[in-house]
Amino acid sequence: MTEVQPSKEVAEYTEVHRHPEPKSFLWKYIFSVDHKVIGIQYLLLAVVAVFVGMALSLLVRLRLVCPECSYPLLGQFFPVGAPEGVMTPEFYLAMLTMHGTVMVFMVLTTAPQGGFGNYFLPIQIGAADMAFPRLNMLSFWTTFVSFLLLMAAFVVEGGAPMSGWTGYPPLSALPEATLPGIGQDLWLASIAVFCIASLLGALNFIVTTLDLRAKGLTMMRMPLTCWTWFVTAILGLLAFGVLLAAGVLLLMDRNVGTSFFVPAGLVVSDKVIDHSGGSPILWQHLFWFFGHPEVYIAILPGMGVTSHVLSTFARKTVFGYRAMVYAIAAIGGLGFVVWGHHMFVSGMSPYSAFVFSVLTMCIGVPSAIKTFNWIGTMWGGKIRFTSPMLYSIGFVSLFVSGGLSGIFLGQPTVDLYFHDTYFVVAHFHLIMGVAAIFGMFAGLTFWFPKMFGKMMNEPLSKIHFWITFVGVYAIFGPMHYLGMLPHPRRYAEITSVDYLGATGAAELHMFITVAAVLTVLAQFIFLYNFVKSIFAGKECREENPWEATTLEWTIPSPPPHDNFAGKVPHVYRGAYDFALRGAKRDFAMQCNDDKAVYGEPAPQASGD
């Protein structure tokens, strides 16, 4: 890499030690310690995983609308799960389980945090790399091992596990209750390894954020993306350790003969199980103590990207920056005390349920603050409808739609009715799945020019946005109605149930499946756009094509090995100085001092 010219934007630099760039392919691209390469590795892993997960969801949809249909190709790959191409109910449950697991762990947890966070957190805070670069590499490769273990569950005898992504015992704990095989063990090993990888990553993110900020970059001047990565890392640090413990316990139940999660007197296939003393509810407590924060691990980075993008393209400062920071922290904190709302139907005491319910409602407050502030940010702005902006607006829409049904489900009495229905499927897909994915689309289209020095094709991105946006509502909107019927979720066979036929559920399922197929097809537009743009996109060597304010836009695209070429900029202002009066431009970058923004003499000091 040739010597990089310092950016004209920067008012002042601090010199720091420069690391030599590795030369060989292996150390530069495979076992790289460069946070940017690792970020892209995480993103690629997530792209592979998301297509696997989507394929699984399609199988689930196909089985639902036509249980007896034969797909010969499927039969070739899965002679046991789909004999002669017809999916068995067990196969349906396995696909459902793996869809959830792949999406939650390998996509929603890796891409927003491990991908974008890795790439942009150090740059946005003015650092040359993460605090522990080698640990960072280790985190990625551990995650990769976890992914391989999960995929291995498809090919072992007995196939993938079928106890859901929540792995509820006793189904998950008793090998005799499912098809014989080690699928569930591989699943558990994968989750345990994933926990370790995530813990290492979270630790790295927190230390980096606290220790490596450039001079002048106080916490309250950080971009909201950094705040969300920071809080997400704290959630990960506290949550994954508990899941690790739970995973080890369940592995012991399956393989060592303990009975932590298996009560006495269970009868499986007319045989009394030789276990006693445990409780499946214990697993639910341990799992959801992780599981609820996990929801915020998935969505918080999307919130950060949305705030960032809305402000940039509305050309207005984030409305209520401090309130946004406190809301992020409040959502993170409350996320640890509401896990019981996943367990209202577990026979929980109504008094406990009441406490969990009230705490759950409390999350509505910071969520509403964020929503109103997003709208306030756009209000009266000079909005530029670029594709990242569209995805971010889509995020706000999906967050509101998915959040509202959360208010229903947070009430124990209502949840008793809705819990095992499609209403829940609609709720968590909108808010945790699709909203978070829209955050990723926004992030990818927004940062693409910085990462690859090329632009993505805007018209294609917009076409993709509209099809996907309408598509996900077409898929998950009707599921609310299905849930009210109430149509049970997780059932492999629904076509022969009479009361569903009379209410139009079968037709709705067909509609949803068609919408799902079309929406999945639209994702290939994005994949094509992404891959094509990397290799043959419109060149964009400009440092700051979006006229944004944060530090990543002061360095070349793509950034050099150590980001700021041995220098670190000083930061003079908050992250969202837009629509400035009396300034030379309508925005000020974080590293511009007042002289650079207003010329001499500075009329006023800029607040942050």
């Binding site: 813990l199 230390v207 106080t218 640090l237 413990a245 303990t258 932590f260």
Partner: protein, 210 residues
Amino acid sequence: MSEGHAATMAAPTWRGGGSPVAVGHKKLGMWLFIVSDSLTFSALLLTYSYVRVANDWPTPFHFFPSIVFSTIMTLVLLTSSLTMVYAVSAAHHGARRKAAKWIWATAFFGTAFVVLHGYEWMHLMVDEGMYPWANEYGTPLFGGTFFLITGLHMFHVITGVAYLGIVALGYRRGKWLPEDVEVAGLYWHFVDLVWMFVFPLIYLLSTSVD
């Protein structure tokens, strides 16, 4: 090199960070690891409490030999924390040889703990017929929780002994800094602290009072 560098380690690298977290990467990282690891142990100890309350829990341990033996193990581990304090202190005074000596002493007591613990495991399994899946005292989970929690703790001690060995060699040769010794000390004291929960919960509470 050691003293001057050690002093600058405390400042965050690019001066953006400030009090109260103005500590070096490694120390902060170790504290965070301790936070997450303590949650893992907490989950296991909560599991233990949960199944203990839910079952008719046996109290098979007697003052002799179980409690006497585990008390000796506890004293060995506590002593290792004391020698670690001396090691950190020596390192901060720049006394490399002395610090390395104290670290080796810590590793020795750590190894002694593992040996004693291993002996006790063997005794419980061979003589008492207690296994993770079964025992003669009562609910099988008694053995399950015992071996899981003490096993995970023992795994931490073994890892810690290896870690101490690396630090002792590295610091002795001048490759590592006094702060690295302190960070190793943090880990070691944490492992010791975990035992201070395991010992009363797993041993003392499972003792027959007669």
